[in-house]
Symmetry: C2
Subunit: 324 residues, 2 copies
């Protein structure tokens, strides 16, 4: 399993990954009623933290595996992360994406040189399609979250946070993390356990898709009632990962859930006060800081803004309140 | 006059100023036809580089001067920078702003605790108003650009750039800088002269307001034909500064001018590829990299994105092509 040694090893292997800034603004503190620090992974290469895990996983493969190529299933950010990291390693990449994924994410993936294979969510079996491609071409799967190396890569966010939060003069605080399958949350939690145990991860999710929060409360991995139906497309995962859940059970605080409107309001707040572009799924942690303050203790709160690959019409809706 | 020693001294005095990241994206390189590196001063506290110069100037005052307070004239970013730096020093701040300044900038200034005095651009004499306030209350003026300490503060961007550009593996390159009165351009040019002489500053301006470009070409300080009429409100200064011009005459390459539509397209490109919010005036350097490529030499170009305090309707227009 992933431990802090694996995270440190992943950090040493990373190339071309940005140490993203920890941002803050007086206006945001005022909105939240406490000090807010935002780890801007929307400024990461490929526009999300997923580049870290993809790099960690692909750099851990054998040369022979890399020559054959890699495969990923993803509606967006993981796709771009894998496409970018594969290209940088000279490895072919095939990305299986739903045909209704945001165009900006499909185009972004192709722009990194990956082969995109689209499938119909309603009528095609994604796993069978991918397994067929993998067998035919000898591709290695890079899982989106439930993989020790992917978790280690995402955990490098936690190594940076430990140092940056201390540098900002903050002691004990909650670290709110947008949560789909839990790879980012688990990686950060493992890094903080070793490097800054005074910081506690709390997963943030869209209301109705808060499988991790309910699973943590219930003590077992529970599934969301629906598969789609939130604007937070980046983090709609059916249930917690088999590897990520035990980590978060041991290390994380209670989960937080926010509405789509609250996520959009957080996108607007990040635009206005921090001058960064965050996608709705990447803004749920900031939304929790702004709208679930009563469920958070302490003078300061840390939020991860996990991605910024947002469709123009969604961003316009967030900042102007109107559908263009 | 300002020299690199003054810039280094200012850097040592700065508190709460962010070392902003140098961003890049494959998609942006493709648009520009060469490698593009963007120094994201839109992520600076108060949303622009102006916080640096304001801090440098206010921290250089005597305790007695700070107790009496400071005065600034500004339509926006300098106002917020001075308001923020004054508040952090416990100094009262009075900011004289035109009544037609963007509401987001007036509100931002007030939010930092400054007293905002509005005047009518058409019918009131700003300088007489400010001089009256200064005499009455014993306030010290913090000039927007033509001041040795302000130039030294802005020059700290250049110290960071020298290190970051070298770290990115770039040698000889042009550094395009949004230019109003020339404080940022001159400060960066002085820092690079000492720290990275292979990097050359080139001022970027809105077409029709390219007083610095024309002055550099003509060998004397020339005035713009009009005072208003560009969306790039942050950098509409009538003519180069008396202190900044000789510095740029000695160190800068030819200026570049872009249209409002090109500035808006650069705002969109920064939104899409870098996930940062840049205001039109702050995007003219990136616009020059995207649309004046034939006037730039080399495999790479560095652009400063100088500010991000943009009205929602302007940003919506930039990214969606529509007025909301």
């Amino acid at each position: 399993m992933t431990d802090v040694a694996a995270i440190r090893a992943a950090a040493r292997r990373l190339r071309g990954i940005r140490a993203t800034p920890l941002l803050a603004a007086t206006g945001l503190d005022r909105l939240a009623g406490r000090r807010v620090l935002v780890k801007a992974e929307c400024l990461q290469v490929t526009g999300s933290f997923k580049a870290r895990g993809a790099w960690a996983a692909i750099s851990a493969l054998s040369d022979a595996q890399r020559r054959q190529g890699v495969l990923a299933y993803s509606s967006g950010n993981h796709a771009q992360g894998v496409a970018w990291a594969a290209a940088a390693h000279g490895a072919p990449a095939v990305i299986v994406m739903p045909s209704d994924a945001p165009a900006v994410k499909i185009e972004g993936t192709e722009a990194y040189g990956a082969e995109v294979v689209l499938y119909d969510r309603g009528h095609e079996d994604r796993d069978a399609l991918g397994a067929g491609l993998a067998a035919e071409r000898g591709l290695t799967l890079v899982p989106p979250f439930d993989d020790p190396e992917v978790i280690a890569g995402q955990g490098t966010v936690g190594l940076e946070l430990a140092e940056q939060v201390r540098g900002a003069g903050v002691g004990r605080a909650d670290v709110l993390v947008p949560c789909g399958g839990g790879g980012l949350s688990a990686g950060i939690a493992l890094a903080l356990e070793a490097e800054a145990p005074e910081l506690r991860v709390r997963p943030a999710e869209p209301a109705g898709f808060d499988d991790m929060a309910r699973s943590l409360a219930g003590g077992e991995r529970l599934t969301n009632p629906a598969a789609i139906g939130s604007i937070c497309d980046a983090i709609l995962t059916p249930r917690p990962g088999a590897l990520t859940f035990p980590v978060l059970q041991r290390l994380a605080g209670p989960g937080l859930a926010v509405s789509d409107d609250e996520a959009l309001a957080a996108v607007e707040a990040a635009f206005r006060h921090l001058h960064v572009v965050v996608e709705p799924g990447g803004a749920v942690a900031l939304a929790a800081a702004l709208f679930r303050g009563e469920a958070i203790a302490g003078d300061a709160v840390v939020c991860v803004a996990s991605g910024g690959n947002v469709a123009t019409e969604t961003f316009v809706r967030a900042i102007s309140g109107r559908t263009p």
